[in-house]
């Protein structure tokens, strides 16, 4: 019970901290919008991918920022009694739903403006982007030493995912390939759904496991023996 309360407390405070970054939240919304609207003149499928996968920049970026900016505090929180997994779950508990809300709004906008063949599939694909983007940001944030390195990794991975054609090998091995295929499928007939879905879930779980590993390494403290045990 106390563990659940710690997770909830972490989620609440993390949410407060992030939502008070008004400019960052504004940019978080504006970035995929600009990607989408700058691509709407081309064929519809490309605009959906640009906007949908572009949303990974926002969600992963917000996650990355949250984990890197609180690195010093995190270890003190562990010293105060939190377990590393509780810090991770607390962030996930806020950022997961937050990403889904952003995805829902964004999917609705694209549905209204561009009218895809399968609107529900577009929403599903964009939601998959959000679900992969959160553990992706957590894993990068826990693995790299500074914001600069994290940002460059983020730009590199999402940028290649956006720029490379879906048939390219580089595209297929990156984490947003599954969600991208789902978004592609929303504007075509007979495209596969099951395999990209499995891929997205597998990537999300793998990234989450990596984030767990890296976070533990970074914030775990040494529990000293008791003086009385000598």
């Amino acid at each position: 019970m106390s563990s659940l309360l710690r997770v909830l407390s972490m989620a609440e405070m993390h949410g407060r901290d992030l939502l008070r970054h008004h400019v960052a939240v504004g940019l978080l919304i504006a970035l995929p919008l600009s990607f989408y609207f700058s691509s709407t003149g081309q064929d519809g499928g490309h605009a959906f991918v640009a906007g949908g996968v572009g949303m990974a920049f926002s969600i992963s970026g917000a996650t990355l920022f949250s984990i890197l900016s609180s690195r010093e505090v995190d270890q003190r929180l562990v010293l105060s009694g939190y377990r590393p997994i509780e810090l991770l779950l607390g962030r996930l508990l806020f950022l997961g739903p937050f990403g889904l809300v952003v995805a829902a709004g964004f999917a609705t906008l694209m549905w209204t403006v561009s009218n895809p063949m399968h609107p529900w599939l577009l929403a599903y694909g964009v939601a998959a982007v959000a679900l992969v983007a959160v553990p992706f940001g957590l894993a990068i944030g826990a693995a790299v030493p500074n914001e600069l390195e994290g940002t460059l990794v983020l730009i590199g991975v999402v940028g290649v995912q956006l720029a490379a054609p879906a048939s390219a090998t580089a595209s297929k091995v990156l984490p947003f390939y599954g969600p991208r295929r789902l978004i592609d499928a929303s504007d075509s007939y007979g495209a596969a759904i099951a395999w990209p879905s499995i891929l997205a879930v597998a990537y999300a779980l793998t990234l989450l496991a990596l984030a767990r590993l890296f976070v533990s390494q970074r914030v775990t403290i040494q529990r000293h023996e008791s003086v009385s045990s000598s």
Binding site: L5, M10, R20, R76, S80, G81, Q222, H224
Partner: protein, 227 residues
């Protein structure tokens, strides 16, 4: 307990560390830490009893903060052991806080870590902050607080769970004179509460207010590790 101003205490403390006396709250023995090839701490010993206030002094780069972080468990020593007698409260030199959370937010979050309810964390935390004249009426996020005020919050977070070992790394940074004097008065109070207190300090004028002074040697003991 008198002051020992000359301190290179490591040899004396080694003897204590091997056979801790009753009442010891912190015993660090044979602590060695290297960053790369540079030795920061070389076989350093430190022990602190309940009701004892120790000043840890030394030149910049002597490894005072590193030793404190090792004692707190935030950093792993390459060699040596640390044993503690209870909960640790640690106040870092730099204010590692969430910039857009208020003092109350921090109290709730850190209190929850120590198993307190929201109400209890706020009650205890505000009481500590009031002792250091923290402006409780202002609901500012920490980014908008002055350096000294942020440090008051930092100190309150270290004290929140009523630790038996207090590790304070120049905790008075940015304090005005009144609060600074108040801080040393609190050291006396913590001594009476049987806490073991280690204060990293450069303020030699205040050393008469502590029980022992331990000076970490700096460059004389620091050497390049031979390849």
């Amino acid at each position: 307990m008198g002051v020992d101003p000359t301190v290179h205490e490591s040899q004396r403390v080694t003897a204590r560390a091997e056979a801790p006396l009753p009442g010891h709250q912190l015993v660090a023995a044979g602590i060695t830490k290297r960053f790369g090839r540079t030795v920061i701490l070389d076989d350093v010993n430190l022990d602190v009893r309940a009701g004892e206030v120790i000043a840890l002094t030394g030149e910049n780069g002597a490894g005072k903060s590193t030793l404190l972080r090792i004692c707190a468990g935030l950093l792993r020593a390459d060699e040596g052991t640390v044993r503690v007698g209870g909960r640790i409260g640690y106040c870092p030199q730099a204010t590692g806080l969430f910039e857009l959370l208020t003092a109350d937010d921090h109290l709730v979050m850190f209190g929850r870590g120590a198993g307190m309810s929201r109400k209890e964390g706020l009650r205890r935390g505000r009481a500590i902050l009031a002792e250091f004249d923290f402006p409780l009426g202002e609901k500012l996020v920490t980014r908008d607080l002055s350096g000294g005020t942020r440090q008051k919050l930092n100190l309150a977070l270290a004290l929140l769970a009523d630790p038996s070992v207090l590790l304070l790394d120049e905790p008075y940074q940015g304090f005005d004179h009144g609060t600074y004097v108040n801080f040393w008065d609190h050291c006396e109070k913590w001594r009476q509460q049987d806490k073991a207190v280690v204060v990293v300090t450069h303020m030699l004028a205040e050393l008469e207010r502590v029980d022992r002074v331990i000076e970490l040697p700096a460059h004389a003991s620091r050497r390049e590790v031979s390849r």
